[in-house]
Symmetry: C2
Subunit: 226 residues, 2 copies
């Protein structure tokens, strides 16, 4: 297998059949040795973090595939902490799609003049560019089109899929009395027809989850779910 990319929390290999293998690592992002899912640097290594992230990812991607929403997911090997996925093309150099059910984090920081922290939001979707140097700037559908990152049609499809996927994740969490505040996804183009599909992972580090108003740590989330 050819090594394609050594990442902060995952390594990527190209398989002989053209698919890719994602290896989930025990390295987690953080600052000064403290775990922070939003950080852009590796902060520490936690044994079992890779398997925990993959277990949640497998759980959600299988539900999403079963619902008929396109993803890059093929299968997962928990023992090896690897996931086999279809090849995907990023939008530009990568975008993040954020779905918000509560006004927290950067949404509240930006729009505090018009909302209180924790206000309910009816599944608000926004797209940011993956750009560490510029703090992942927000971008509109017009901006994405103007800069050649995605078409308006792709944007609309992506927003629609995001809301459908969000309902699946929210519903599964609710079964364990967990409330989803917000979640970020990655999408890409998959297949010969370049259709919009969910890629990357869905683990604790991608979402803010609360139980009875108390924040649930990403690694704690995996324990509560299974």
């Amino acid at each position: 297998m050819e090594t394609v990319y050594i990442g902060k929390t995952k390594d990527v290999y190209r398989k002989e059949d053209g698919n890719f293998l994602l290896k989930f690592k025990d390295d987690v992002t953080g600052t000064d040795g403290v775990f922070d899912p939003g950080a852009n640097t590796v902060g520490l290594t936690i044994e079992g973090a890779g398997q925990a992230g993959l277990r949640l990812t497998q759980f959600f991607f299988e539900k999403i595939n079963a619902a008929g929403i396109p993803t890059h997911y093929i299968d997962a090997d928990i023992e090896q902490a690897t996931m086999t996925v279809k090849p995907a093309q990023m939008f530009g150099e990568g975008v993040e799609v954020i779905l918000r059910y509560r006004a927290v984090g950067s949404f509240h920081r930006r729009y505090a003049k018009y909302c209180n922290e924790g206000d309910a939001l009816a599944g608000y979707v926004e797209v940011t560019l993956k750009d560490d140097d510029r703090n992942d700037p927000l971008i509109t559908a017009d901006g994405l089109e103007m800069l050649g990152i995605m078409t308006k049609q792709e944007y609309q499809t992506l927003v629609e899929f995001t809301k459908q996927i969000g309902e699946i994740v929210k519903g599964e969490l609710a079964k364990k009395e967990l409330e989803l505040y917000d979640i970020k996804f990655e999408f890409g183009r998959v297949g010969e027809d370049n259709h919009v599909a969910l890629i990357d992972e869905i683990s604790g580090g991608n979402m803010r989850v609360y139980r009875n108003g108390e924040y649930i740590e990403p690694l704690q989330l995996e324990k509560l779910m299974f």
Copy 2:
């Protein structure tokens, strides 16, 4: 006449007939005594600055009214540096609408991964919230709707009007061999039917204008135009 508001560069009075009078002042925004149209504080006083701003505003608003695009403008008295306008309701606590023909300023700072400074843009429109404390954050059509600031229909109307008005301003500047890089507008709801209309002013401080690649100062612009 009742004093409604004492602003940084304009004062607002309510007339007996229900219309409003805007008094353009010679105070201009800036920092440490240096003129900066983007600053949020009054920097210095320049004799004639109020009349110069009003002259350009009158010129553009009369062209825009003549083109059938709704505005709040009724008439202007250059001598007194006053403009009579229809009452208007702001969107939320005020939004700014930016139209960009070149990738400069905050657009380039945000999206430098995907564009070079000065790249041509095909009339890109974006909306920011007027919020000095939060550096006028960018907001999407979905965000504006979610926070109850404007409807999707109002957003679409506002974007359409912005592009039409931009073509008028761009065309007038081009007659003097001036190139419009970007311009910001304010819109509000006017009349009993609350229709979307251009409000505030259109003067040198609202736009970036260049001639042969050289930036034209706002007060210089008025001299070149008339």
